[in-house]
């Protein structure tokens, strides 16, 4: 298999190269890292809904829509990317998605372990260490190929990741920052500055080559040729244009930022006969946390809303119906035009 070990590259190239390889039907492994920061959104996302485009524009941070799944991420040189391009239908590709992720994330897990970080695979596509995500990845079927992209996270700018997101209010942003810090780790955080510094980009890539080599090697070192460069330029003329970035998608009735598999920060607004309910909360491995209810509806006595928040704290999502029904039965609570069904629409269950 061809190996492109490219080091730091212009940010556009860090995305265009694997799209171009796939469109050309070339298999290969690409290891690189962007020379400057940018924001990358998933194919299905609405850029204006997900990302604070004004902030990005003002601060010279480009935004790119990839032809791959997943959500908005802030990418910079603190992350080392791997991009594996395989022909669709290749015998090395397991039929099920979970088996695919398990197989092709195993080199990443191995590399982290060789650094002394107790990483493990968590379905469907997370690599976690000590309960925290430590690598992101996604797949796209591009041209006649399957493209698997992901990263080793040496360092992560939590502040910028949180800042580039479009959020309903600053309280929500604070919650995203806190949850992100608690649920995403880096090589620096795991090893400490001094030990992490020993693992240079070169050394980490050498480990990646060795680990991926066991799955898809041996490798032949390559550099981008004219045909590849021409395809990247051709794709760039489309994918770097506003018309590609600003594709309208219908936003749902909630703002939901996925932090890692099973951890989401949510704001939901629900219209009902009695008015409008707004709720901010986290769902962490199926449990509610940090529940905050506001909005425009009548509740007597008003302080019971705080009690309801406390009642929902830590609840498993599918027990919410039971908890709310019990709360109404046990409390002299009046919420005209707001019923159990409305709370379920907000919190699930």
């Amino acid at each position: 298999m061809d190996l492109y070990l490219l080091g730091k590259v212009p940010w556009e190239d860090s995305q265009l190269i694997y799209h171009a390889m796939a469109e050309l039907g070339r298999e290969g492994l690409i290891l690189l890292s962007p020379a400057s920061p940018y924001v990358c959104i998933g194919f299905h996302q609405d850029a204006e809904h997900e990302v604070d485009l004004d902030f990005c524009r003002t601060n010279g941070i480009p935004v790119f829509r990839r032809d791959v799944g997943g959500g908005a991420v802030y990418l910079d040189g603190g992350q080392l990317f791997f991009q594996l391009v395989l022909p669709r239908g290749d015998a090395r590709i397991p039929a099920s998605k979970e088996a695919f992720y398990r197989k092709f994330l195993s080199p990443v897990v191995d590399v982290y372990r060789r650094l002394g970080i107790p990483a493990e695979y968590k379905p469907i596509n997370d690599v976690i260490a000590g309960g925290r995500k430590i690598s992101g990845s996604g797949v796209g079927e591009v041209g006649g190929c399957v493209v698997f992209v992901g990263n080793l996270i040496v360092d992560f700018n939590y502040g910028m990741m949180t800042r580039i997101l479009k959020v309903p209010d600053e309280k929500f942003r604070d919650k995203v920052h806190k949850t992100l810090t608690e649920n995403l780790s880096t090589i620096r955080r795991e090893l400490g500055e001094e030990r992490a510094a020993q693992w240079t980009e070169e050394r980490l890539n050498a480990l990646m080559i060795e680990a991926f080599g066991e799955l898809v090697g041996p490798f032949q070192p390559k550099t981008p040729d004219d045909a590849l460069r021409a395809k990247m330029d051709e794709l760039g003329s489309v994918m770097l244009a506003d018309a590609w970035l600003i594709q309208r998608r219908r936003p749902g009735a909630e703002r939901n930022v996925k932090i890692r598999s099973g951890v989401h920060v949510v704001q939901k607004v629900h219209k009902c006969r009695g008015g409008l309910i707004r709720a901010d909360f986290e769902v962490s491995d199926g449990r509610l946390a940090g529940v905050s209810i506001s909005g425009d509806f009548f509740c007597y006595p008003a302080k019971k809303i705080q009690h309801l928040e406390a009642e929902l704290e830590g609840r498993i999502v599918h027990e919410v119906r039971e908890a709310i029904e019990a709360f109404y039965a046990d409390n002299a609570l009046e919420t005209p035009g707001v019923g159990v069904g409305d709370w379920l629409a907000v919190f699930g269950g």
Binding site: F43, G69, K97, G140
Partner: protein, 140 residues
């Protein structure tokens, strides 16, 4: 009919990537089958191209995403996209809830309705195909 826990109505036609097709007057209706939606997990996005798009059998005309995997939807027959299920734009999870009903995806005006005959159809053919598929997907 139930095949190892997957519901595959035997009156439908199936294409190999696990989309079902059925005739509806001059049109064909298409959606994801139960095996695919269960394996996919929560569907988070379905691309809904503009009706009128020309379709070529076996060629990609839309995308669907679940589990951070952006996959392709191939046309089951030659024809033209006649309609899309707009409900899926705001609620793609309808595919998981009711893949043969409210979660239908596309309507196609086929060049030749007889092309349906090239798809997998009939209880025996469906069962044979599905058992092979289940075995294939069980492999690690």
């Amino acid at each position: 009919m139930d095949i190892e826990g997957y519901n595959l109505p035997e009156d439908l036609y199936y294409e190999k990537d696990h989309y079902w097709v059925k005739a509806d007057g001059d049109l064909l209706v298409m959606g994801m089958n139960d095996f695919a939606q269960k394996l996919a997990g929560k569907i988070v996005f379905v691309q809904l191209p503009e009706p009128g798009k020309a379709l070529e059998a076996g060629k990609r005309f839309a995308k669907v995403e679940s589990g951070k995997w952006l996959g392709k939807v191939n046309a089951p027959v030659n024809g033209e996209l006649a309609d899309v299920n707009e409900e899926l734009e705001g609620n793609p999870g309808l595919i998981n809830e009711d893949c043969y009903g409210k979660g239908w995806m596309y309507k196609i005006k086929p060049d030749n309705q007889a092309d349906l005959g090239q798809l997998i159809h009939g209880a025996e053919a469906i069962r044979t195909w599905m058992l092979e598929e289940i075995a294939k997907f069980a492999k690690k």
